[in-house]
């Protein structure tokens, strides 16, 4: 007789049940998954906000090593994930691409400021430079298709630049996303840096999009109607709404999660 796993939300580095006590069965399967609530989301945003200065303050090399560690942990659980992804060559491919995506972004942490920062030759006796800084708390909505890769494709670039994350797991197939939380939990990712909530999108999306302490929201996994509603709510605190195609993998995507800060100082004796 097997020991079955209870799937839980991942908030502030801990595996917790929904405060609402609710659960649902995705795809009518036999597994209970927590149905997160507005309060779970609020707890996740709060945990992320608290974790932000520490994560943003890590050295770029350290963030790179932690992302690489996450790739190692994911690869180490390959068999489990392939099974969660439906097995076969397709599941294997999705797992491999997810590992590859983490490795790719792990290598960007300490190059991004060099590629996207600038020294600006202003017309005057000033030294002036521009550097990318993380935006802060980022909301991610995993697409329903590619339940692992879709999420990894956004978590990796957002973490790369030093952001912290509140992610919604795919509603219809959340198991890979919830298991990915176990990967981050064992990869030296500090508590609160990644938070993953499962539940019903139509219930959770409006709260995430309108939360005043979420700085940016990525809508690659959303339908047109959802994007419209999110953009309307995002205006409440001038959230950045990030709209790249799902497969995007580039420093341009990392930069979408960043702010550019420009610093001036006079030159003189």
């Amino acid at each position: 007789m097997d020991v079955r796993k209870t799937y839980k939300l991942f908030v502030n580095g801990e595996f917790v049940r929904s405060e609402s006590g609710r659960a649902y069965r995705p795809d009518g399967g036999g597994v209970n998954v927590p149905r997160g609530s507005r309060k779970d989301l609020r707890d996740a945003v709060r945990a992320a906000r608290n974790a932000f200065p520490g994560w943003a303050g890590r050295t770029a090399m350290n963030r790179g090593q932690i992302l690489y560690r996450a790739a190692e942990m994911l690869d180490g659980r390959a068999a489990q994930f392939v099974e969660l992804l439906g097995g076969g060559a397709r599941g294997r491919r999705e797992l491999d691409q997810s590992v590859e995506t983490l490795v790719w972004y792990a290598g960007w942490t300490d190059k991004l400021p060099q590629v996207t920062g600038t020294v600006n030759p202003v017309a005057g006796p000033y030294f002036n430079f521009t550097i990318p800084e993380p935006t802060g708390v980022v909301g991610l909505i995993a697409p329903e298709e590619a339940p692992l890769l879709g999420l990894v494709r956004r978590v990796a670039p957002a973490l790369c630049g030093g952001n912290v994350i509140v992610a919604l797991a795919p509603e219809s197939s959340p198991l890979a996303a919830l298991t990915l939380a176990e990967v981050f939990a064992t990869s030296d990712v500090p508590a609160g840096v990644v938070n993953i909530i499962s539940g019903q999108r139509k219930e959770l999306l409006p709260w995430l999009a309108s939360h005043m302490d979420v700085n940016a929201i990525d809508v690659a996994g959303c339908t047109g109607d959802e994007v419209k509603a999110i953009e309307e709510s995002a205006a409440g605190n001038v959230k950045r709404v990030i709209k790249f195609k799902q497969q995007e993998q580039s420093p341009y995507l990392i930069v979408a999660f960043m702010e550019m800060k420009t610093i001036w100082h006079p030159i003189g004796v």
């Binding site: 521009t130 109607d225 001038v238 702010e259 800060k261």
Partner: protein
């Protein structure tokens, strides 16, 4: 010829008055009325409604401009749409040449433009002459050079223009904001419909002439005048693919909501409530100049103004003493006078807003200081003001006043300074004054703001990206980063 001690003592007793030094205005020809700039020429509008634009220093009407309606905006957008294909397909080096031409024409007509800007907006001529106009020309010159180098700006991509950009700009730096909007848009191959602010449309009308002089292809730049309604028509027009707005956070949020779900690209440059932080080891005299420039430049009509002064407690007294003394030497009056430091408030509505907020400051318990200052009888004026005894919860410490009003707070430790500086929904700019290099970088790292001025304030340059964190908006203007909002990278 040495003077005797006695003569010197007598001289010291004398009060020296500045002789008036007004800039001549006879070389400037402002038309009594303006149509709209659509499809390469000034056209009569469909709308029969007009409104006066006045000189805020005299309240005299300078001209009447059109209040463009839906039909007018549609015509302008159609003209821009029509021009887009050929403009985008033009060899990039040709686009560059047009932008260079515009830049040169701005330089050639800079004296005229400075006077128009000062008459229409109320800002001191020394600022329009030395800051607004030269920076506008420089901005076009800078982006002209990018037009044929876009692929070096975006490695691994083939950047493409987006289409018609709908741009709405504020009244505090009318021509400069026009340049910030139009130059990168055109360089990247987009065409433009721009709406200048209701109270300051005239330099944009001169710019329309410059476009014609430069023989810019018809429809590449279109300018429609009007109030908020016209602006809303521009940004919501279905053929507008890209919206760029500079103005208040309140209106920025309305725009973000209004275009939700349309797929239009958006950049917002909104309000601010910047902290200007002075540490005890800062050179105080320089800091005083920086504080003055930070909040009294352009009557404080600056989104990145250093409107919250955070002083380390140990030097609060001597610094305030110096600052108050400096305030008493600021010259308020005729904006056209070359010696004027503080010009007219841009409009009656803005004056009332400033007055209201200052009253709230007094009511909430802050202590108001204003130097002795005679305000002209006509026009809109507000003396340079500073508040002490300010609590972080007061409206004057939280809300953007957009006037020459400084709120002074104190702090003890660097951590407290950071905490107070970031205690605002805004995040446009910040200032820090200290002699210690490592502390500058420590502070710069922690302040959530798009521009940090260290031992200086309110500096601008076309190569230097500008834009906010948090509710101060998103997107950058200036530098290579300023191209990003105007290109498609896929």
């Amino acid at each position: 010829m040495a003077i005797t001690k006695k003569q010197s003592a007598e001289l010291a007793k004398q009060v020296f008055e500045y002789a008036p030094a007004p800039e001549a205005v006879d070389h400037v020809k402002i038309q009594p009325r303006y149509g709209l700039f659509i499809g390469g020429r000034m056209v009569d509008a469909h709308s029969k409604k007009r409104f006066p634009t006045i000189n805020p220093a005299t309240e005299k009407t300078l001209s009447e401009v059109t209040d463009a309606d839906e039909v007018d905006v549609d015509r302008a957008v159609k003209a821009a749409s029509k021009a887009f294909d050929s403009w985008a397909r033009l060899p990039a080096s040709r686009r560059a040449r047009y932008l260079y031409r515009i830049s040169r024409l701005l330089q050639e007509r800079s004296r005229e433009l400075a006077v128009v800007e000062t008459m229409d907006g109320g800002k001191p001529i020394k600022e329009s002459r030395d800051v607004d106009i030269p920076l506008s020309a420089a901005h076009f010159f800078y982006y002209a050079g990018w037009a044929d180098k876009l692929e070096w700006a975006f490695p691994n991509r083939k950047p493409k223009p987006l289409g018609v950009a709908g741009q709405v700009i504020p009244w505090n730096f009318p021509l400069l904001m026009l340049a910030w909007k139009i130059a990168p848009a055109l360089a990247a191959g987009n065409t433009v419909v721009l709406k200048p602010a209701e109270t300051t449309p005239l330099s944009a009308m001169v710019f329309a002439e410059i476009c014609m002089q430069a023989e810019l292809p018809p429809g590449v730049v279109n300018i429609v005048t009007g109030a908020g309604k016209t602006g809303s028509l521009v940004v919501t027009h279905p053929e507008v693919k890209k919206v760029a707005f500079t103005g208040s956070t309140e209106v920025g949020k309305l725009i973000q909501r209004a275009i939700a779900g349309t797929g239009k690209r958006l950049t917002l440059e909104l309000g601010g409530k910047a902290a200007n932080i002075v540490f005890e080891d800062a050179p105080l005299d320089q800091a005083v100049e920086g504080i003055v420039n930070g909040i009294y430049f352009n009557q404080g009509h600056v989104c990145c103004a250093g409107s919250r002064l955070l002083v380390q407690e140990s030097i609060a007294e001597p610094l305030l003493e110096k600052l108050k003394r400096r305030l008493s030497t600021l010259r308020l009056g005729d904006p056209l006078d070359k010696n004027t430091d503080i010009g007219a408030i841009n409009s009656r509505a803005q004056l009332e807003k400033i007055q209201g907020l200052v009253e709230s400051g007094v009511e909430e318990g802050a202590e108001l200081y204003q130097p002795e200052c005679v305000l002209p009888e006509r026009g809109f004026w507000f003396p340079p003001s500073l508040f002490t005894n300010v609590s972080q919860s007061y409206r004057i410490a939280r809300e953007e006043i957009f006037g020459p009003v400084l709120s002074v707070l104190t702090f003890r430790t660097p951590a407290e300074a950071v905490e107070k500086a970031n205690n605002t929904p805004y995040g446009l700019s910040a200032g820090v004054w200290t002699d210690k290099g490592s502390r500058i970088l420590w502070m710069a790292e922690r302040m959530r703001a798009g521009v940090v001025w260290a031992n200086t304030f309110n500096r601008f340059d076309p190569t230097s990206p500008f834009g906010g964190y948090k509710e101060s908006g998103f997107g950058r203007e200036g530098g290579v980063h300023g191209l990003l909002p105007y290109v498609e990278l896929n």
